[in-house]
Symmetry: C2
Subunit: 453 residues, 2 copies
Amino acid sequence: MSLTTDSPLLVAQLASLAARILATLPAAARNDALSAIYLALSAAKDKILAANARDMEAAARSVENGELSLSVLKRLDLGRKGKWEDMLKGILDVQELEDPVGKVSLRTRLDTGLDLERVTCPIGTLLIIFEARPEVIANIASLAIKSGNAAILKGGKESTESFVAISTVISEALAGTQVPNASIQLLTSRSSIPELLSLEKLIDLVIPRGSNELVRYIKHNTRIPVLGHADGLCSIYIHETADAEVAKRILQDAKTGYPAACNAVETLLVDEAAVETVLPVVAESLMSSGVSLRCDARSKSGLTTKLPKNLSVLLQDATEKDYETEFLDLILAVKTIPTVPGEPGVEAAIEHINAHSSHHTDAILARDRDIAERFMKAVDSAGVFWNTSTRMSDGMRFGFGTEVGISTNKIHARGPVGLEGLTTYKYLLRGEGQIAGEYGAGGREWKHERLPL
Amino acid sequence: MSLTTDSPLLVAQLASLAARILATLPAAARNDALSAIYLALSAAKDKILAANARDMEAAARSVENGELSLSVLKRLDLGRKGKWEDMLKGILDVQELEDPVGKVSLRTRLDTGLDLERVTCPIGTLLIIFEARPEVIANIASLAIKSGNAAILKGGKESTESFVAISTVISEALAGTQVPNASIQLLTSRSSIPELLSLEKLIDLVIPRGSNELVRYIKHNTRIPVLGHADGLCSIYIHETADAEVAKRILQDAKTGYPAACNAVETLLVDEAAVETVLPVVAESLMSSGVSLRCDARSKSGLTTKLPKNLSVLLQDATEKDYETEFLDLILAVKTIPTVPGEPGVEAAIEHINAHSSHHTDAILARDRDIAERFMKAVDSAGVFWNTSTRMSDGMRFGFGTEVGISTNKIHARGPVGLEGLTTYKYLLRGEGQIAGEYGAGGREWKHERLPL
């Protein structure tokens, strides 16, 4: 890892060269590098925590001055119970994952002695831009090395001391392995971002990990593909056949489990037939947990008569804007799907979601299987769920072992992205001197025989 | 198909709505629409050829005035032997391909009664911008409908009459099917392009089919993902173990088979040890076909003594720029890989290619398998071939049935792109009321059991 230069161009050139070498290393060499990083970080615990303490001190002063929020300060703390151990365990978890490189996904015999193979390979050079959490550097370095990609890391300024300490240790550890040092490089200066984002010939993919504002800024300021999502406007639709207790339980989880998460629910759609049956059960439970409901007229009137008086302060009027807002807070927009003879409510719900959601994760609660399948087919989002919480949208929960991020792109990886999302593929064609011109009209015929993988 | 509006925004909005419907139609409904288009075009042959004749007349005048090249005029001609029949047959070929939608690529039991499925689905709305060839409209319409995507088509102005005639027929044909009319829309005005390229919320993917300039313009003027390639700078490396006759045959095919193709070879790298053995055989054959060789000093001196005098006019000096030029013509840049003890030539060849090629297709000619495998592992291109021609890089030759284009992107589809490249996927999760909060520390454990596909 190079800390000797702050020139983004030079860093990217070195990364690009390192990526070429990394791409040809066998899995064992990449895994050995992860072991080396694990051991080196374990040995350097005191030094790193001391650096982290300096970051914390500076950040505490900024909190006092009102320049920094308490939540950022909390995220900075590597000394918090279990955090250091989790960071180290994460490296070994990544090491144990299946090698994503060299997987054959297609094998075709074009002709005798002319075999085509499609095989996964690393993307090349990743640029990861993240905010305060210092443990991310170990996580990202592991993912990048495991998948054979070089990574340029730009961390938040609040955790600079921690980053430099961790990256110095990683650098020293890599020096004793086959993985080139420049595979993982750290840039600390915020002013390097615009130049990095312009290096489309050297950097293949940008992965922002942080606030919506950060992601949106990056998406609007680069031609390099960006993996991630700016918004997580998730909806849940309560169909008239939904079970009230199931709905209550799922909405509690989806709204109050972790309101600031991108997979938390922000809009609740309710069939008119359920407004006075299912909705009051859901609403009372949510409001008891402090959730404000921003309701349209029909759902509000349905709730007013059914709810205890003391909760009425949390019953508010919705504006159109509320149905396009990612609150990331204990607020939920509620909209009634009116009963119209001959027009199933599910169609109106689908239409609302396709027009308003951020295509992240949307769910239907219903007993009716056909209705649920229709919803899952027609909603155009990365995750479409039936009778479960939007919070399930997560790489760890999906069994991917780890998560690079959740993508709302429709191109390349979509939804929770594991190691697979850090690979591309290439076509290898092994021949015996065949040429294109000898096939076709009057010539040889293609065999195009699928071979086993 | 709507021809009543020329507002790009309205066209894109209609396409986006049509895409939602199209995405939920079963394969049979999409295939029926292709039958209807096939029959309608067959019946309207005379009308369409008459429109095409009007385009040809106008174009012939432009050729006379020197405003248009003869090659564009040729590409315009739908009446040319076999072209009409090929266009119609193409529709049925696409219809017969396997349905790319609804394929399950991952199935995991997260827990009892909580099954995750990853299933392919259409991308949404495609914008296809192409130049003169009028038959492309039928091809693209078929591919879009087959894959469940809506398409906005912007054709070249030289073939406007043909496009309007074909698209009117397609429109009338779709009216009698379940596929919405607005699934395929035509825009004829060139001034609509900048606005279309700005509609990133409505258009999901841009596919340019035409000159390098067109592709480069589009890549630099939109934030919508672009599928395709601007450059096709392909290389062939002759290793010292290459067979001279095989090399001669492959270079003939790769350089002279279709010099204007993106998969034609532009740079030839030759091991110094082969400069006076293999290279003269290759060079004489190429030069006899009229190919100029732009050589570095070592390869030129190696050839000078070996070649017949009458060919010497085709033996030229290379400049550095020649190794970065896509000639698309009967010109080949030749570079010697010097013999350096302890440094295998293949490494220098890999380095040259990774630094200079456009990551489209590169090949090695060698008898040595280990050397070839090393080359295929380390060269970072969409296609890396051994003992066969770069011209093999083609969706039809690869057995994909048809080809949307060849992509040099490393994100999403890479190499020749078939129908698969017009799909994305979504995660469906079917539960029985499970919530995220009940799993993890002290709670339920994930099963993460892989289910058969």
